[in-house]
């Protein structure tokens, strides 16, 4: 009973929050509503007995993804007036088309029937004697290892893509060059000053300046974008 009430409570908030994500005028508010939606979804997971998933949702989606979203949205300069103009122009047709699709999907869902053994499955979501986390682990790393590995490759490709599209070697970027540091020979040398005299300013040995280039090119082309 209480579980049922809690389910409807969280589900209602989840849907409301999802609607707010789409309709909120300020994108920052949208993201905050999104975070609210994640929390509620996590609560639903908890009710279903999937604590591991619930925690993962909170940690990964709320803690990392949504916060990243927030940063991005706050940094981007989006012209909302222009966006809204497009929405208004297409709104009538969009509403009609969306309405038709929605009705059709309703029609489809109306024929939904639960399988006879659905109730039994719901009561025992995981095998006997295994914790929630272990059950997921089995599915992910044993049954679906193939899919898991492919997902890993997809993430790798996403990373490569992000690097390819954004990383640039700008001229003048300062980077640590370990090899050069180690190979430097003319390090500061120790000097032994006369007692009581201290060291004079001129005695401080400095690394020799690099030899001047003999014939500097008239205009060096700084085209090293990549």
């Amino acid at each position: 009973m209480i579980a049922g009430l809690a389910f409807y409570f969280f589900a209602f908030i989840l849907i409301a929050a999802a609607v707010m994500v789409v309709t909120a005028r300020n994108p920052v508010h949208s993201v905050i509503w999104l975070i609210a939606a994640f929390f509620n979804a996590a609560a639903l997971f908890l009710i279903a007995g999937a604590e591991f998933l619930a925690m993962i949702l909170v940690i990964v989606y709320v803690g990392a993804v949504a916060v990243l979203f927030l940063f991005v949205v706050m940094m981007l300069d989006v012209d909302f007036a222009q966006l809204r103009e497009g929405v208004q122009r297409y709104a009538p047709i969009g509403a009609v088309v969306g309405g038709i699709l929605f009705l059709e999907l309703l029609l489809v869902l109306s024929v939904w029937r639960f399988a006879p053994d659905a109730a039994a499955l719901r009561m025992a979501p995981m095998p006997e004697g295994v914790t929630n986390t272990e059950a997921i682990g089995r599915i992910l790393y044993t049954d679906h290892i193939y899919l898991f590995q492919i997902s890993g490759l997809i993430l790798l490709v996403a990373m490569i893509g992000a690097i390819v599209l954004t990383l640039r070697d700008r001229p003048g970027t300062k980077r640590q060059d370990v090899g050069a540091q180690i190979a430097r020979s003319s390090a500061v040398a120790m000097a032994r000053p006369e007692l009581g005299e201290g060291i004079r300013r001129e005695d401080i040995l400095r690394p020799l300046p690099p030899p001047a280039k003999e014939a500097p090119k008239p205009v060096t082309h700084e085209g090293g974008h990549h």
Partner: protein, 473 residues
């Protein structure tokens, strides 16, 4: 767990990782060695594909059969040749980066996963592994606004289609209770009426797949992406990935959803007719040859879908014959497109080909062969491709589709022949730069295939028949 079954994919994935490391570590430009290594990986993987036994692996998520082998060989060959074409182009455009071959490798791996998919989940993941590198590659020329725009457009629309497809898969899972192809085929092949939920799910999945093969009305991205993306990338888009997309749609519709053929047939018929008509008419007004190729592909999609819509063994065989022939014609045509440079700058208007018949007769001859073949003029290979999808359609009584096919190929002959006319009869506006050797290689190989296919079609026909037999079971 017979994981050795997936040896081609494993080899490709591991060599992808190794090549990535090999590309990152040295402090000099590794594009050329990486490209060669990727080509080697393709070759190795292809060898494993050829020796792959039949069977299922990973709990029924992976299947190896004659169909998969047929398509994988095509995909690998297409990818390798397209990569060869890209090498020179990327160098000339200042896009020489070792990530490019690696991305091609992972995209190809995605296609192979897709082709071997025996489960909606592995199909979806394969599709994503294919799509993600493609988005990046479309935007590869990142200092060019049009390239970035192409990448972004492709990404947004691709994400939408993926979403639709995933939604469809969830519907199918919800209503049919499984994502495994074999079990789906069992469920749908029964006598019980098919639930509306499954049917709508199938439509959503078809939507996603139609987006990949660029069938009308999900084709809108194609011309823009083709025009904006670097030509070398488009050469890959238009060849290997098309094979992968065709393989996926054939695998899904003829395999698990084969039992529901009456349900999806009319949708595919509609998409086929619309694609043929749009592809034929929209291409007429184009001046950019890459856009022209985009519409040309849309028209070819119509033909491929025609064979699929017929749904019979002969129709599917037609599709499988169409695919390699298209692959060869398209690779050949793109080898010419890639070689279109004047004074070091890439040019891409049809008019830039003017006078090619005199300045570079060999290339002009090649292009003329590909154009004639695409128009379906006998005895070039393109004619047979169209014949083999048209005949089953007529036999099965799809008259409307057949008539539209013939008429659209007449209309499309107009714009193909226009290219030939420009090459041979218009005054030259200056010779193109000398073509690189990679281009000559691809041009000669594909040209000979297209020209002389009619002499020895038997091996291909036999392979296609075997593949179809494996598919239908």
């Amino acid at each position: 767990m017979n994981w050795t079954l997936a040896l081609p994919e494993l080899v490709l994935a591991l060599s992808g990782l190794a090549i990535l490391v090999a590309g990152v570590l040295p402090r000099r430009d590794m594009t050329f060695p990486c490209t060669m290594m990727v080509l080697g990986a393709f070759l190795l993987s292809g060898a494993f594909v050829l020796t792959q036994p039949d069977g299922m692996g990973f709990g029924g998520q992976y299947i190896s059969d004659a169909f998969a082998r047929f398509m994988k060989v095509l995909v690998l060959a297409g990818a390798a040749l397209a990569l060869l074409l890209a090498l020179d182009w990327n160098r000339a455009e200042g896009l020489s980066r070792f990530e490019y071959p690696v991305l091609v490798l992972f995209a190809t791996l995605g296609m192979m996963v897709m082709i071997s998919a025996n489960d909606l989940m592995s199909l979806y993941l394969g599709l994503e592994l294919l799509s993600l590198p493609l988005y990046v590659m479309a935007a590869f020329h990142r200092d060019n606004a049009r390239s970035s725009e192409a990448g972004l457009k492709y990404f947004v629309l691709g994400a939408l289609s993926s979403g639709l497809m995933l939604y469809g898969m969830s519907l199918v899972y919800g209503f049919a209770g499984t994502t495994n192809f074999a079990q789906l085929a069992q469920v749908l092949g029964g006598t019980a009426p098919i639930s509306a939920g499954v049917v709508v799910g199938i439509v959503f999945i078809i939507t996603g797949l139609c987006f990949k093969v660029a069938a009308v009305p999900f084709h809108m991205w194609t011309p823009d992406v083709y025009e904006g993306a670097p030509t070398s990338v488009v050469a890959y888009f238009a060849t290997a990935t098309k094979v992968g997309a065709i393989a996926a749609i054939v695998r899904v519709l003829a395999g698990p959803f084969g039992g529901a053929v009456d349900q999806w047939q009319q949708v595919i018929v509609l998409a086929s007719i619309a694609s043929m008509i749009l592809g034929a008419f929209a291409a007429i007004g184009q001046t950019n040859i890459k856009r022209l190729m985009a519409y040309s592909w849309i028209s070819h999609t119509g033909f491929v879908l025609m064979g699929l819509a017929v749904g019979t063994e002969a129709g599917l065989r037609g599709v499988l014959i169409y695919t390699p022939i298209y692959l060869m014609m398209s690779l050949g045509a793109f080898s010419v497109l890639v070689a279109m440079r004047r004074n070091g700058h890439a040019v891409e208007n049809i008019q830039d080909l003017a006078g090619l018949g005199r300045t570079d007769p060999a290339m002009a001859l090649g292009m003329a062969i590909f154009m004639f073949a695409m128009a379906g003029i006998p005895p070039l290979s393109g004619f047979f491709a169209k014949l083999y999808v048209l005949l089953p359609a007529v036999e099965a009584g799809f008259w409307l589709m057949a008539v539209v096919a013939v008429l659209s190929s007449v209309v499309s002959a107009y714009y193909y022949l226009r290219v030939v006319k420009v090459m041979y009869f218009d005054a030259s506006t200056g010779a193109l730069d000398a073509r690189p050797s990679g281009v000559s290689f691809v041009l000669a190989g594909t040209g000979l295939f297209t020209m002389f296919f009619f002499l020895m079609p038997a091996p291909l026909l036999a392979a296609a028949r075997q593949a179809v037999a494996a598919l239908i079971g």
